[in-house]
Symmetry: C2
């Protein structure tokens, strides 16, 4: 049984706590948070503390706080020879290097408060400073997920940037689509099946194989017509840049 | 029983044919295509012809050919008082106005050859020049789909532009994500659960509510760092423009 202490009481910590509740491989023995108030949801389920001096003996300490608090919190830890990991996609492992043994336990998913997640399909990206520590991290990750990867800090940073493209930026394009629908009193739900299928498609074909539309067909009449029809300069700029990028990427003549 | 003739033998026609096979409300009695060779897949299933003079008597003639052939094909039809519809998102209904009764039967989905689709969740957008014809089109559409909408030509054009954003452009962002992964020897599949969840999320929350990431947090340190890390000017341009657009849309100070 791997004993875990969670540091932080936000979304990621809560979802991890719930996932570890379902496994016999690991047990969360304590949750720490600076603010007592934020610990209320955990109080009846597990030992909690808002003092770093009261941290229990565990095998792994998982830091799941806001990105810009990770390093500061790590520096306050005085755990001798204990494995400390953070859960952030964008912070280098070395931010924890005041500890002897440290690493990363990064679940790559977008977590929404109150929305249950199925951890079994969530990729968990692992890294450790001491080679042999990867084993216990793998055991812990595999207890809740079927998609466990060893990813070094450079790769993790690339993944995080790629995630901005396929999550944050994609969501913004959904918003532009939503905006265009609203401008013409069309319910956005008409587009739900299309956007779901578009996402599903790239899990079996590569995005390059899946590309369709006026840009890759080089259909300049439709492209001009679309740009002219758009209501805002912002929409026009996005349309123009992404059309150009599709054509460059697929080697069409411009 | 609504008698249907399909004009065209490509993806859309094939998928419609398969969907109509499953219902008792409609029956495809003939498939036309200019090229006999393209009709081979239909020959053992239904009457076929490559001559417009041999078209059978039907209630509805559905044109499912390439966008730039729709109008020309329509002009060759000499059907007296028969309802003729096309299936295109980007062509005005009036392209068929050499017929007396005409309309649009537009299934809004991305069709991949050989990949079975579940028509029941595919939105079908309808329009007719004669008010009373909407009824038979609705009956036909409802026989294969649970998502039937009356959408006029102006709205349909807006939908088609919105679809470029949520399908073609989104797919291109997937490709940029794929590219960044490849550059760092990270399997793109690590991002599959994230991109699927991102799509699923906007079917229950609005895209505006779903927006996360460094742009909306106004996290300039992470933004600069990401842009610097990108390998190509194209990636940098997309990152910069979409970040700016997110910040403008959400009213963050720049």
């Amino acid at each position: 049984m791997i004993k875990v202490v969670l540091l932080g009481a936000g979304n990621v910590s809560t979802h991890l706590f719930e996932a570890f509740q379902e496994t016999k491989t690991a047990s969360v023995i304590q949750v720490y948070n600076r603010s007592k108030k934020r610990l209320q949801g955990f109080n009846h389920l597990v030992d909690t503390t808002s003092s770093l001096n009261e941290l229990k003996e565990a095998d792994i300490y998982i830091i799941a706080v806001k990105d810009d608090s990770v390093e500061a919190l790590s520096k306050k830890l005085t755990l001798l020879n204990k494995l400390v990991v953070h859960t952030s996609g964008s912070i280098a492992m070395e931010a924890l290097n005041n500890n002897h043994r440290y690493g990363v336990f990064y679940p790559l998913q977008t977590f929404t408060k109150g929305k249950q997640v199925d951890f079994s399909s969530i990729p968990i990206c692992l890294e450790t400073n001491i080679q042999s520590d990867i084993e216990i991290l793998e055991k812990l990750a595999q207890s809740i997920s079927q998609a466990v990867y060893k990813i070094d800090s450079v790769q993790r940073k690339a993944l995080h940037v790629a995630a901005v493209f396929v999550n944050n930026f994609v969501n913004h394009l959904y918003q532009k689509g939503h905006e265009i629908c609203q401008e013409h009193q069309v319910p956005f739900e008409v587009l739900h099946p299309l956007l779901l299928e578009t996402a599903k498609k790239v899990t079996s074909l590569t995005p390059k194989e899946s590309q369709t539309g006026p840009a890759i067909r080089n259909d300049q009449a439709v492209i001009n017509n679309h740009i002219e029809s758009l209501a805002t300069q912002q929409q026009k700029d996005i349309y123009t840049l992404l059309t150009k990028s599709i054509q460059e990427t697929h080697g069409n003549k411009l």
